[in-house]
């Protein structure tokens, strides 16, 4: 068995460093991220350019830090929006039941049958590129797993004795939703959110890679990958850098999220099992 607490601590430290570096990018980058230097194109790592330069002579490290702002912010916002939307839809489905539940569940099924990326592409194509359309595209395609999980759990909690007990003593539905159902949903939703953050980070990258996400001169990790791909043989760091960044951040968030979800579930709160 791996030593989970050490791994989790390392993940926290790495993620903190990445977030710090990315957040402080405007002040710490060694070069302006879009400053071109055509003399030093596709340079290998040097003391001046730690990760070398791209095909226009822009410093890879600076672009990595600057691009991370967009990627991580977008993924975080999309996770938050999809999480809230999905949880709301799931809980409403479970509480109202009837045709509303049917409607949301079928919509969910339809979205599940279509590849996420195709729907996202369609929305971006219809709305144009930019920050807001990208966010809409990711939210519309991304709420389904949250809604599914929230609906099942809310159904489950609603059938528990304490919810019925609360109804008998006259607690209104709002109290049951906010004090009983949502707290029970928190830990699993958090776990789901961290998994989705990683996937969304990759989705943002993929859309940008396809040229539908961020538009030049702004960059993100996906568009950097796209730009560096033709020169992979001469300057491999241009691909390894952003690729590794996406991978590391997604992994760290997932690890931390799982740990947080376990802690939120807590051994004290589990039922004590059989008697006797």
């Amino acid at each position: 068995m791996r030593n989970t607490s050490t791994v989790d601590r390392v993940a926290v430290v790495i993620l903190a460093l990445v977030v710090l570096a990315v957040a402080a990018a405007p002040w710490v980058v060694p070069y302006p991220p879009d400053e071109q230097n055509l003399v030093a194109r596709l340079a290998p790592p040097t003391t001046g350019h730690w990760l070398g330069t791209d095909h226009l002579g822009r410093d890879t490290l600076s672009r990595l830090l600057d691009g991370g702002r967009f990627s991580m912010l977008m993924a975080a916002l999309a996770t938050l929006l999809t999480g809230l939307l999905g949880t709301a839809i799931g809980v409403i489905s479970a509480r109202r039941r009837g045709w509303l539940d049917e409607f949301f569940t079928r919509t969910n099924d339809v979205l599940l049958a279509l590849p996420e990326m195709v729907v996202a592409l369609f929305i971006v194509a219809a709305m144009g590129t930019g920050f807001a359309p990208l966010l809409v595209a990711l939210t519309v395609t991304g709420w389904t797993p949250f809604a599914r999980l929230a609906r099942t759990l809310a159904y489950d909690v609603s059938a528990r004795g304490f919810v019925e007990a609360a109804r008998v003593v006259g607690c209104p539905p709002s109290f049951i939703i906010f004090r009983h159902i949502l707290p029970h949903l928190a830990a699993p939703m958090l776990g789901q959110a961290t998994l989705r953050f990683g996937q969304l980070l990759i989705s943002v990258g993929a859309l940008s890679y396809l040229g539908l996400g961020v538009q030049p001169p702004q960059s993100d990790w996906g568009s950097m990958l796209a730009a560096a791909q033709p020169y992979a043989d001469r300057a491999p760091l241009g691909i390894i850098g952003p690729g590794l960044a996406i991978f590391t951040v997604a992994l760290c968030v997932t690890l931390i999220g799982q740990r947080a979800a376990r802690m939120a579930a807590g051994p004290l709160l589990l039922p004590t099992g059989g008697r006797g």
């Binding site: 528990r160 004795g161 304490f162 019925e164 007990a165 609360a166 109804r167 008998v168 003593v169 006259g170 607690c171 209104p172 109290f175 004090r179 009983h180 707290p183 029970h184 051994p267 004290l268 709160l269 589990l270 039922p271 004590t272 099992g273 059989g274 008697r275 006797g276």
Partner: protein
């Protein structure tokens, strides 16, 4: 060759912090002992053909004794010293492979909640095939034939249907029969029965015990019967062992222990299970009614017309200050009735009239009828402290300040005899009896006219059950509270109730004064219920019940 089960000087301890152990509220486990002893020097033996009862309150270590014999202890519990021997084989240091030939083979186990022990995806037949293959070497048609035979033996009317049935298609009693068949499939010499009948009503309880008793006399099966119900012990057991906090405090022939208990603990247990009939109270004809049910019908799954209604034309009238008992087998609609009355289920027809004394009430929530649930641990949100759970309904009342709410909660806690310090705890840190008291406190906060106890005491051991019943009687006396006791326990009915209503397949088949009901039940089903009740110290009944079992099977 049948073999004897011998447990000698068994010491078992928990390595988990006592803090999260169930029942941590009890003083014995209150201090944070890291190595909490669970069993200290338990010794017992069960010979072939012997019916030995192991009795004690909850948390006394009865189940742990059985689990140690099978080496199925939870990971944080370890056997310190002592030995468990089945014939020549020492189970305490047997290998896993050896244990697997013993478990379900020579040593069968019957668990408390039969429905949970079946895999819902598999038929009863395929459950039975497993031990038949492992321990009997039977396959295919032979195994199938044997499975049918076993089910017929345990009293399935249609054994061929039973083999094909899925667990959800069986009623509680049928599931326990199937479980018994499963335990017997491995041809065990010794059967550990851990409260096999606690969740069942009296009729089924007697049937299951008769079945075990027959296996004992016919095949020489040794039975270790774990229970907190002394009534059934008196009727069936040869020897009794009394357990308290991990020790055997008393043992001897059943007759002797039950008639001349040597320790105070045994006496306490006996007193608790000896519920005397209630003294006659004044007739209640002139009291006003607080709850009226008029031809109530509840139909589930409206699509299927062949489905019989859960409640069929039930009319009932509850007077103020009355204790009404509602009797019925599992599945007779008792719980549906309770849920309909408090408004958790909408009724399909008829009307329920909760007569509110609205002048005295603040706010208008329909809380004049309150419900105490069967499972105390499930009726509180595990995330909330008890204070938060109790405060929740009061938050709806705009006329109360924070201090006022706190005062009411403390008053209610005092009324049910609990320390207010308990309010800061979470449900898993309290025992079942404490939580059931808190449930009652929560109900009292709503100033109810009627309190319904839906099997409110069935999940508790006899001692705790007794204290809860006394509490309810006190509240009834002091507050003039009307009680509806929904139960399958005839002793509780006889002890508490003024009137009895019998539900059978969703119909109200009889309503009578308690003493009339017990002396002269009218309906066929009532007669069956009354005759099935195993009275405490009913030693003389053993012959009678044996005779009946021979006649009925």
């Amino acid at each position: 060759m049948p073999e004897q089960l011998v447990i000698e000087e068994l010491h078992v301890r928990s390595t988990a912090p006592a803090r999260i152990a169930p029942g941590a509220g009890r003083p014995a486990s209150g201090e944070p002992a890291v190595y909490r002893p669970i069993l200290s020097g338990v010794g017992l033996s069960v010979s072939p053909g012997e019916f030995v009862a192991l009795v004690g309150g909850s948390g006394s270590g009865k189940t742990m004794t059985a689990m140690s014999a099978l080496r199925l202890l939870p990971p944080q519990v370890t056997i310190d010293s002592g030995s468990v021997r089945l014939g020549p084989l020492d189970l305490t240091n047997a290998s896993e492979a050896e244990l697997n030939t013993v478990r379900g083979g020579k040593l069968g186990m019957l668990f408390q909640q039969p429905k949970r022990m079946f895999n819902p995806n598999k038929t009863i037949g395929s459950h039975l095939h497993e031990p038949l293959k492992l321990h009997g070497g039977l396959r295919g048609k032979q195994a199938h034939a044997k499975a049918v035979e076993l089910l017929a033996e345990v009293g399935f009317e249609d054994a061929h249907w039973g083999v094909r049935a899925y667990p959800h298609q069986l009623s509680g009693g049928m599931a326990q029969r199937a479980m018994t068949a499963l335990a017997l499939a491995g041809q065990p010499d010794m059967l550990l029965a851990d409260e096999p009948t606690s969740a069942l009503d009296k009729v089924l309880e007697r049937q299951i015990l008769q079945l075990l008793d027959r296996e004992r006399s016919e095949r020489g099966l040794g039975i270790l019967y774990i229970t907190h119900n002394l009534a059934s012990v008196a009727a069936f057991a040869d020897r009794v062992l009394v357990m308290d906090s991990g020790r055997i405090v008393e043992s001897g022939p059943a007759q002797e222990v039950l008639s001349r208990p040597r320790t105070a603990y045994t006496q306490q247990l006996l007193d608790a299970s000896n519920l005397l009939p209630a003294p006659r109270r004044v007739p209640l004809s002139e009291a006003r009614s607080v709850l009226t049910l008029n031809a109530v019908v509840k139909q589930f799954a409206s699509g299927k017309s062949r489905c019989r209604p859960a409640l069929d034309n039930v009319s009932l009238d509850v007077k103020q200050g009355e204790i009404l008992g509602v009797l019925g087998q599992s599945g007779s609609g008792k719980s549906t009735l309770a849920r309909s009355i408090v408004g958790l289920e909408d009724v399909s027809g008829g009307s329920i009239n909760r007569k509110l004394d609205t002048a005295g009430k603040h706010g208008a929530a329909p809380t004049a009828v309150q419900l105490v649930f069967q499972e105390p641990h499930d009726s509180f949100d595990p995330r909330m402290t008890l204070r938060a759970s109790l405060e929740a309904p009061l938050l709806q009342r705009k006329d109360l300040t924070a201090a006022g709410r706190s005062q009411r909660i403390h008053d209610a806690m005092e009324e049910v005899g609990l320390d207010a310090a308990l309010l800061g705890r979470r449900p898993c840190q309290c025992s079942g009896g404490q939580l059931q008291r808190v449930t009652i406190a929560r109900a009292l906060l709503m100033e109810p006219e009627v309190l319904i106890c839906d099997e409110g005491t069935s999940a508790l051991d006899a001692l705790t059950q007794r204290t809860i019943l006394n509490l309810l009687l006190c509240l009834h006396r002091d507050r003039g509270l009307s009680l509806i006791m929904i139960t399958h326990d005839m002793d509780v009915i006889r002890h508490m109730c003024d009137r009895v209503a019998v539900l059978f397949k969703g119909r109200l088949v009889e309503v009578a004064e308690t003493h009339e009901f017990f002396s002269d039940p009218q309906h066929e089903h009532s007669k069956a219920l009354v005759s099935a009740a195993i009275p405490c110290r009913g030693l003389h009944l053993k012959k009678i019940t044996l005779g009946q079992s021979a006649a009925s099977v």
